[in-house]
């Protein structure tokens, strides 16, 4: 087992990893920029290293400094958290060449699944349903037109190397396609240095459902059920829950088996998530996230499995101590992301300084947050201040509990998404489990 782990991240996820390490008796090293020496994660860690000159946004991407910090502190492993270097195959390779264990999947697996067109092709081969579309990337406009004629409009043009909504466009008809194809190609080239495009059918009003899995380095793979993450703004999740209100135990079993098979064949090890769109009773693979997810706590609440500890155990070469039959799901869990955003103003980020800060408590409430009174929200990073998670015997109790916890939460000084979440918790569609990735759009139309 590792004696010391460097955490190449900041914010709540750095705290999350430090907490797991503390409970495992592993020492921790925090890294930070010169301006952030007083951050909570720096205070919680056993050791710290200031890694880089400004701008602070680069501190957690500065590979030589991070490796050097691990070397001088004698850290044997690096946990990348999510974001920053967590999906960087090159960083994983550098770690290996410096005899530092990267706590995540092997670089080859990150590469294989990082190219979305390749991942589609691979999943189709192993029998996982994908959104109808081209087999891998299309050669040119002609092929794109032909593929789209077969799958029907509307269709999506997507950059193979894309992500985060960049290099993606919905086309309504052939004329639109002919016009958009070169534009997406150029966008992909400039954003990702690679202009390959694939085409897939654009689903009308799908749900976003993802499966968490764990895979050790000895070929044992299990899934930990699904999370429903349909409530999103700008392609980013805001509310997540487990289990999904629409998934039956039979569906969970069937899709879970496919996920396990795909993960095994990809030569994957460590924790990961397979994301699907779900429409009219059918699942369509979209991508694999080869890392810890922001919303992992909802899975932890309903399975009692600490995913960060499992990641560390897997990276240290341990075998999974659970089989699929050991995995029990109990109760329901919800997560609301508390962001410094003005939900009434198209979720515009609202940087500033936190005044009074008071977190909720009581039965079934968990708050993962790096924020405290006087915290200055840095403009360089994302706007998430906290994750508020509630757990209850069933969905109804979990929602009521979330309502109560949102009422208890006090964050003064900036506008947060707490107000938005309070509205959602009494929304009729939400209460009935009628969710889709268009939920917020519909919701904001209703409330205006």
């Amino acid at each position: 087992m590792f004696k010391k782990i460097l955490i190449a991240n900041r914010g709540e996820v750095a705290l999350r990893i430090i907490r797991a390490c503390k409970e495992m008796g592993i020492r921790t090293v925090a890294i930070h920029s010169p301006a952030a020496a007083d951050s909570l994660h720096v205070n919680y860690a056993d050791e710290k290293a200031c890694v880089a000159p400004p701008p602070p946004s680069d501190s957690y991407l500065n590979i030589p400094s991070i490796i050097s910090a691990a070397e001088i502190t004698d850290a044997h492993a690096i946990h990348p958290g999510y974001g920053f270097l967590s999906e960087n195959a090159y960083f994983a390779e550098i770690c290996a060449s410096c005899n530092i264990k990267f706590i995540g999947p092997p670089p080859e697996a990150i590469r294989k699944l990082g190219d979305k067109a390749e991942a589609r092709k691979f999943m189709k081969k192993v029998g996982i349903p994908i959104v109808p579309g081209s087999e891998g990337v299309v050669e040119g406009l002609e092929e794109a037109v032909e593929v789209t004629r077969q799958i029907g409009y509307p269709a999506r043009l997507k950059a193979a190397a894309g992500g985060g909504g960049k290099g993606m466009r919905v086309v309504e008809n052939q004329e639109d396609l002919i016009k958009s194809f070169p534009v997406v190609q150029r966008e992909a080239q400039s954003a990702f240095g690679e202009g390959s495009i694939y085409v897939e059918k654009s689903l009308i009003n799908p749900r976003h459902i993802e499966f968490q899995f764990l895979s050790d380095e000895h070929g044992n793979v299990i899934h930990l059920g699904e999370r429903e993450c349909s409530i999103q703004r700008r392609g980013q999740k805001l509310i997540e829950e487990a289990p999904s209100p629409i998934i039956t135990p039979e569906m969970r079993k069937r899709i879970g088996r496919m996920v396990v098979k795909g993960v095994k064949m990809a030569g994957y090890a460590n924790a990961g998530t397979m994301e699907f769109l779900f429409e009219d009773g059918r699942f369509y693979f979209i991508e694999v996230n080869p890392r810890l997810q922001v919303e992992h706590p909802v899975t932890e609440m309903v399975t009692d499995i600490d995913l960060v500890k499992e990641q560390i155990l897997i990276a240290s070469g341990e075998r999974l101590k659970y089989t699929q039959d050991d995995i029990d799901f109990h109760g329901h869990a919800l997560e609301c992301r508390i962001n410094s955003e003005d939900y009434a103003n198209d979720f515009l980020p609202t940087p500033g300084t936190i005044g009074l800060y008071h977190i909720p408590g009581g039965p079934g409430v968990r708050v993962d947050s790096h924020v405290r009174s006087g915290y200055v929200i840095p403009p360089h990073y994302d706007s998430m201040l906290a994750k508020l998670i509630t757990h209850g015997a069933d969905r109804g109790e979990t929602i009521v509990r979330m309502k109560r916890a949102l009422d208890e939460y006090v964050i003064e000084g900036v506008i947060t998404t707490i107000g938005f979440h309070k509205l959602v918790m009494v929304d009729k569609d939400f209460l009935q489990g009628n969710l889709s990735t268009g939920f917020i759009r519909k919701f904001s139309n209703n409330s205006k």
């Binding site: 010169p34 301006a35 880089a52 400004p54 030589p64 400094s65 050097s68």
Partner: protein, 167 residues
């Protein structure tokens, strides 16, 4: 940072012969550089320190020049006040392991010794990061007041390495 604060910083510098100001806080970093012709920007009371060279980006100057406040530009500049010495802290430009003795030499031949003179551009230590040796050079002529790290010590970015007394 708002425009008013930038204006205040510019006001602080005007009337002195400060050539460069670098300001950093949690969200802002600005660097202001002033052209000085024949030291014409001396303060009215002639008490501004002659900053012989601008503060290096990495070396924080401990002794802040006096007479910085509310000094207004006047035309009666040109006369230099007595130049008292000041302390410059040389900081590590990166995270790594700091070596004060050149490779292959023994302890009797370090890069610098307390009390010894250093010239601008002289190597004062090596920071090894990812197996690569990076030279740290002095930005000033001066005298080594004290070494703030031990040979082979791990250092982080911005950690003070040595204190220099500069004229």
């Amino acid at each position: 940072m708002d425009l008013e604060r930038i204006k205040r910083i510019v006001a602080l510098a005007s009337g002195t012969d400060i050539e460069e100001i670098e300001y950093r806080d949690k969200v802002t970093q600005i660097k202001l550089r002033f052209e000085i012709e024949g030291h014409q920007r001396l303060g009215p009371e002639q008490k501004a320190l002659q900053a012989s060279s601008p503060a290096p980006a990495e070396g924080g100057e401990v002794a802040a020049p006096a007479g910085m406040s509310a000094a207004q530009p006047t035309s009666n500049g040109g006369v230099k006040a007595q130049e008292p010495s000041k302390t410059v802290i040389v900081k590590s430009p990166m995270v790594g392991r700091c070596y004060l003795i050149p490779p292959g030499k023994d302890e009797s031949e370090p890069y610098v010794l307390p009390g010894g003179e250093v010239r601008k551009g002289q190597i004062i230590s090596i920071i090894e990061a990812m197996g690569i040796r990076n030279e740290v050079r002095s930005d000033h002529d001066g005298k080594v007041m004290s070494l703030l790290v031990k040979n082979g010590q791990p250092v982080e970015y911005g950690q003070p390495l040595l204190a220099l007394e500069v004229a």
